[in-house]
Amino acid sequence: MLRAEPLVRVQLLMLASEAQDAALALARFGVFNPAPCTVDALAESPAAAYREAWLEAESRLSKLLEQCGDIGPLNLPADAEAPALADLQELNAWLKEVWISCLECHENEARIAEARSHLDALEDTLTRLERLNVDLAHLLRADSLLAVDIGSLPAAGLRRVTEALAMTGHLVSRFDQVGEQVFAVIAGPRARRDEVRGVLAQAGWRELPVPDELRTHPQAARTWLEAERTRLASQSGAACRVMDGLRDRFGPRLHEARLRLALARPLAEAALAGVRGKGGLAALSGWVPKRRLDGLRATLDERFHGRTWLDVREPSPREVAEVPSLVRYPGWLAPFVPLVKSYGIPRYGEFDPALPFAFTYLLLFGAMFGDIGHGAVILLLSAALARRLGRMAWVGVAAGAVSMLFGLFYGSIFGYETLIEPLWLSPLHDPIRVLTLAVGFGVGFITFTLLANAWNRGVAGRAAEALFDSGGLAGLAFYLGAVGVLASLAGAADVAQPAAMLAGLGIVVVAAFKWFEARAGLGERILVTLIETLETAINLFSNTLSFMRVAAFSLNHVALALAVFTLANGLDATGHWLTITLGNVVIIVLEGGIVAIQALRLMYYEGFSRFFSGDGREFVPLRLVSQQARV
């Protein structure tokens, strides 16, 4: 729980023709994280074509399913085999055929929709032109010297088109606008007609076809428009029937395609990491937990009866940064893990901060927001919204419970500080003690982070940093020594002399380390050593003082409640209880939210940033679509 599981690097050699089944077996096994194969002798990529076909087929299938709707749950039989490359390509070709049929229906629908909007525009045009009292037959005569076009173009291009056409003696007259489309009449010398064609095409000009009927008899034109609309409606219905036909005809086969693509997924996914091979051989590389190695061997033997070769080795020091982290968390801790991972993934071998994070986060939240009533509201709300919040509801329940516990310690219920006796202390009446405790907690927390950092550096093989750097044991010696001196000065302890010696020794070692680490000229080296050593001291103490906010927020909680009571006491009975209720809602929402963020901030910046690089790789096992990894 505090460290990633030990992993081993495995390389599985098999017949290339069985690679898809091997990947499927590994996905069913559930804890194989694929990794690039590094054997130079295996120069080919036998699964590349497989992945390409799978990606194409998967893309077509998802588009088809989007059209036809989901066609039921997917149950993969335990003995089902993954399709071979030829099968996959055949499936892909079939999906392409079906999707193109669908696409034609789509294109038809789009064309019909566009034709409809043109008809609408034409009808509007008719209405307007009727009012203009223009003899259209004369205007649109094909043998006239004046060429006239009626049509539409994007509104944004109108000015540019007008300017461009002016260069050829053409006029553009806008007469309507629908959305982003402008309807216009373009007129100009017929002799220069060719010069404007390119501009109009480039500008996205759509000509409105004006039928002969329109030119002479408006009533006939309206009849023509109605007939066109009916024709388009029948075409649209036909397109819908085609779509329904597709659904009925291909539904079961699409379901089968879904199943086969799910079985093909493992090799396609593994190919992304890099399946290598040569001739008839293929190799799959990756990481598996050491404790599951026997299980892996048994799985492969059962499936392939000795037709595979499994090469196993421990990760080398050079590749530690490449090894993924697989940490098993108990169910109660799992909801806190996303909060840790939002900062970063622990490196393989590094100390995993999820457990101390969960405890410390709850402790800080409770200490800053200690109130039995407010905690109970948070707890009950989280429990009530458990279905919507998922596992994160548990974080709310736990935070609410800890808040209630601290409420008991502080003797606080919905801001009332006098209803019950505090079991421990009242922040309002003993603020100095609260501040001292907060700083004391900060000292303990920073000590822990320095130890964790020293451990992580040591595990990563950077012993010098673990021992002598500002974040290592030397930094810790300086920090504890300085804390001892300050405590002695404040009269809380009597260890001034040994503490000063410890602090002095620590800071000298840190400075010496910085000096040897700096790669620069003499002047710059002196400067770097001085500044970085000074920064060590300042950082450690400013980070410690940062924990005073824990006390400040616990006081703030009481102060907010006092403000609410002051307001409420000036009102009548109804106003009083209304103010008390609304005030408590504001405290829970506003202060609760701020405290939740502040606790997270303390964890991230005063804690994680000190020992947690967060640049590890997550263990991502090969998976089947319908099966969760058995981690």
């Binding site: 789509h106 300017e163 390119g198 940064a321």
Partner: protein, 346 residues
Amino acid sequence: MSAYLDTRVSLFSGRLWHDTALAALIGVPDDAMSDAMKRRGFPHLAAGSADEAGREDTRSLEQRIVAQILDETRVLIRPLSGEARSFLTFWTARFEMSNVKTLLRSKLTDERPAVVLARLTPMGAFGQLDHPDLAHAEDLGELLRRLEAGPFAGIVRHARRAFEQTRDPFNLDAALDHGYYEGLIQRARPLEDTVGNPFRTLMANLIDRINLVWLLRYRFNYKLPPAQVYYLLVGSHYGLPSSRLQELAALDSFEAVLAALPAALQSQLAGATDIPGVFGRMESAAAEQARRVLRSRGPAIARAFAYLILRERDLRGVRAVLRGRHLGLPAADIRQALQRGSAEAM
């Protein structure tokens, strides 16, 4: 914010190459090339370079160059917000537009999705398009519909309408370029008002160069009619405003166009006899202007934009050198390519 950006730009500007240093790169021995690149902040440009984990970098030279520019832009826009951030972010969208063109062409030539995906430029934090989804579109129609549902809907819708009329791929490309630069000018306008002359000069050099080179190319290489040429140019309020562009587009020869340019541009282009020559001279003048802005105590956003212009020019030069060396071209040819600048970027 401004102090951070100023400091960043000043630090970055130490990486820029002088033309002489770039020319000297032609003669650097192969084994010293990687070091020379690293010294200038181009660790990934030397062929066969590996990442920190020792994995081979399989990206093409172009992809590495764009990755470098995007990395630096990401650092520079960190302290920016509002119009300045929007402008520099859109400045990087040129590469995404180039991806859009690649995707569209791949559908016209029925290329395999895996092949086209390998050619697309990864946009990292600036990525706005789902490349795999777009590459797997069945045909051009589906691809255009998907693009029209994305962040470049306005530009792509216009391009589709232009293309549908003629089915001419040129119309697609021209509409996309036109739409992009119109968008850039639109985003630059508020900055020109607030930041002032240094920024405006940089934009003016860029847009005037694009308009003049396009005008010459469309008019005299593609023989398009004047009205269409004018329509394809970017609406401008800089040194070559729309009224001047109309007059220039109506002229009948390359020489007549150069002779009708404003005096400042005429002297800049003295001796140019072809379009690459025009591009090279205008680009050199723009680079000189950008250097002046970079050295000045001008507004931080103008200095950042100047740096990005110069850095991209450098990278194009480095690409020319690396490609020339890779192809085994004589040093004189590579040097000539450097002097003329590369019109490919447009």
